[in-house]
Amino acid sequence: MTKRKMFLRMITASLVRRRSRMLVALLAIAVGATILSGLVTIYYDVPRQMGAQFRNYGANMIFLAASNEARFDLDTVRRGVACIDAEELVGVAPYRYETVRIHEQPILAAGTDLDGAKATSPYWHIDGEWPSARYEVLVGQETAEFLGLKTGDVFNATWSSGEEEEDVLNLGVDMKVAGILETGGSEEEYLYMSLSDMEELAGETEKLDVVELSVSASADELKAYEQDIEANVPDIAPRLVKRVTESESTVLTKLQSLVFLVTAVVLVLTMICVATTMTAVVTERRKEIGLRKSLGASDGSIIWEFMGEGLLLGGVGGILGSILGFAFAQFVSVHVFSSSITYQPALLPVTILVSVLVTGLACLLPVRSATEVDPALVLKGE
């Protein structure tokens, strides 16, 4: 029998025959590796997932016309939006503001892409439904109270072009209140309708007033987009909504460092736990070491064997832990953020390497102390 065969046989035999103890050790390593890979995966994914949550605060970038002469229509906006990574774009809502007359009162009306508004302003509370058909509108709560409108009411809206003759002929459009908008902010004084309805009411014009964008990106990335758009689409003046971007980076940094510290503390403590368990499992075998030594095994070969065992356990535990850890991270992601987690492929070798290192180190210390002692003493049980 060759030396290598004997080595392998001794390792496998000790793993198989001492099944229960090896199971204990393997479990410890697997738990450690699970925590390592699970928490690190979550740590890397938190900014992305949490960033998506922060989009609840609404638009973090707006487009304005660069100057009064600039072309600022849907096409220009599309060119501006093209500069932003489509994956990061949460919503785009163009707005055109006009004053319309309802019950002879001047009311501010906004024409927008209602689906875009829904995406950029998830915090809008609608009492009723989002408009789905033509001539259906959202009415801000203040305006609704002022005009005495309720969900389902139909009212007549006219638009004044400024010329009296035309105004007499202008019969306006009958519109239906699909829902009452409650935000607690200035949106409550407006009337929201789709851009096409607005065009029919107030006439076609190419010019938008403002475009709200909600982009899931860090403050630095947003600044880069801002410069990019300014350079590529000269008609657009992009502006960051500082209130949202500044606050987001403050809070997000805190959250990330929280997860980082928690991960660090948990990892250090878990790794020590794994190490002590391994040490206990190996210390138990001092007698075996003594016996081998008295049979003539060299210190080197004994250390090698034990290390081989440890490394095997570490490798298997590491692989097991990687799988379990990913499953845990996925579970957390689905339950907390209702989205899938992105897997970090680099984590697999790192997890295995760390578990092998920890187990190796944990084995090395007790084995070395056992080999240093006189075999007779060890065998006697001291």
Binding site: I35, V265, C273
Partner: protein, 431 residues
């Protein structure tokens, strides 16, 4: 004899016992730290989310925004409703006064600059020192409510200092550029009810409408608009509990609730109940949540708490398995000793009692050390991340104690049972 054996185990095998105690201490400290942080993370993140500014606005009942539209129609003669400045202190007397972090009154008026341009002048508190009837003292104002403003030049108006130079004004960056204003310049403003010379003491960049406005201390603006003692709005920043179904029902109509529900709602820090309580103390006011801030806060708080709960559960499982493992390993290691005890006639019960007492004694020592170490870890996390200490909930101690007890028993009982099943001769032989 029993105690002697226990004492013997601790004095002669102190190294092994130390290792068990150490592992239990590690597990217990992990559990303590994670539970402590988890239970307090909601409050801490809530504090952080205050950087988004006020989540409640209070406006006079009759006015509201439509009033401004009216003014366009009816000119300056239009009746405008105001809130009363002397009622501001009452905000800190409501049931949830402790949850009100900051608030600031606002009064605004249109002023004309020398070149004829009309500008909005906002009067507010910057860092107003408030001595409350309750004896509490508090510094509050827009400096806390507008954390995203960056001062491009000059400084914030300091109300503590500016009693000697009360005519300070802060200018929005867009306006400053347009008018060519710099820090230290004098700016003459005229309003329908008076005029004044103000000195520019800071230029700020806010990234919103405020960039085209002027901000000055309350009394300056009140003098200009002849509204001494009156306000147009109040912004309140409060720590709130995320809304649930009850809160939504209550927000629509508090009187529709049953008495028990009403009390539960009134005594929970929902944004709607705080709004309701504010309306009770401020005459003729409407307090409404700023959905953009209030809703998003709720969502983020919920997610963060859930995330921390799951991470805590993982680390609890981890530390539990770690302790169980080590205890099992260390009990099995003593198969020879237990076999010998059995061979010389010890009863199963006596052996179990002996081993369990040892393990539990070690567990108690380890858990005690771990608990205090865990408190330390939690404070390290609190101070590094949030810059404030974590308030440990009293629930943490019993949870950790029960956890350690259950886990050590779970680790030792199956191992002892397994060893007792073996025949002493076999065990002693080394099988």
């Amino acid at each position: 004899m029993f105690f002697r054996m226990i004492r013997g185990a601790f004095t002669r095998q102190w190294k092994k016992m130390l290792m068990i105690a150490l592992t239990i201490a590690l597990g217990a400290s992990l559990a303590t730290a994670m539970l402590g942080v988890m239970m307090d993370v909601g409050d801490k993140v809530n504090q952080e989310l205050k950087t988004y500014g006020a989540n409640i606005t209070v406006v006079p009942k009759a006015s509201s925004v439509i009033g401004n539209l009216y003014e366009v129609e009816g000119g300056e003669s239009g009746e405008t409703a105001y809130l009363r400045e002397d009622e501001l202190g009452k905000i800190k007397t409501i049931f949830w006064a402790f949850n009100i972090v900051d608030f600031s009154p606002f009064i605004d008026t249109e002023v004309t600059l020398p070149d004829g341009a009309g500008v909005k002048l906002v009067g507010t508190w910057f860092n107003h020192h408030l001595a409350l009837p309750t004896g509490e003292e508090l510094d509050t104002g827009v400096k806390n409510l507008r954390t995203w403003w960056s001062i491009e030049d000059g400084r914030w108006i300091d109300e503590g200092l500016d009693v000697y130079e009360p005519n300070c004004v802060m200018v929005g960056s867009v306006l400053a550029e347009r008018e060519g204003l710099r820090v230290g310049d004098w700016l003459h403003v005229s309003a329908p009810y008076g005029e004044n010379d103000l000195i520019v003491c800071g230029i700020f960049d806010s990234g919103d409408d405020a960039d085209e406005q002027l901000y000055a201390p309350m009394d300056v603006v009140q003098a200009l608009s002849d509204t001494d003692g009156y306000l147009t709005s109040i912004e309140v920043s409060a720590l709130t509990t995320p809304d649930n179904e009850l809160a939504e029902r209550a927000a629509k109509d508090p009187s529709s609730l049953s008495i028990a529900d009403y009390e539960l709602w009134y005594c929970t820090a929902y944004v709607s109940s705080i709004c309701y309580q504010l309306q009770e103390v401020i005459t003729d006011s409407v307090a409404s949540p700023v959905r953009q801030v209030a809703d998003s806060e709720g969502a983020i708080l919920e997610k963060t708490e859930l995330l921390m709960v799951l991470i805590t559960i993982l680390s609890l499982i981890g530390s539990a398995l770690g302790i169980t493992n080590l205890v099992t390993a260390s009990v099995m290691e003593r198969s020879n000793e237990l076999g010998l005890l059995k061979a010389i006639g010890a009863k199963d019960g006596a052996i179990s009692a002996l081993v369990l007492t040892e393990v539990i004694l070690t567990g108690i020592v380890g858990a005690a050390i771990g608990y205090f170490a865990g408190l330390g870890f939690a404070q390290i996390i609190g101070h590094t991340v949030f810059g404030s200490s974590i308030a440990m909930k009293p629930l943490v101690l019993p949870v950790v104690a029960v956890l350690v007890l259950v886990v050590t028993l779970a680790g030792s009982v199956p191992a002892i049972r397994m060893l007792l099943k073996l025949r002493p001769a076999e065990v002693l032989h080394g099988r």
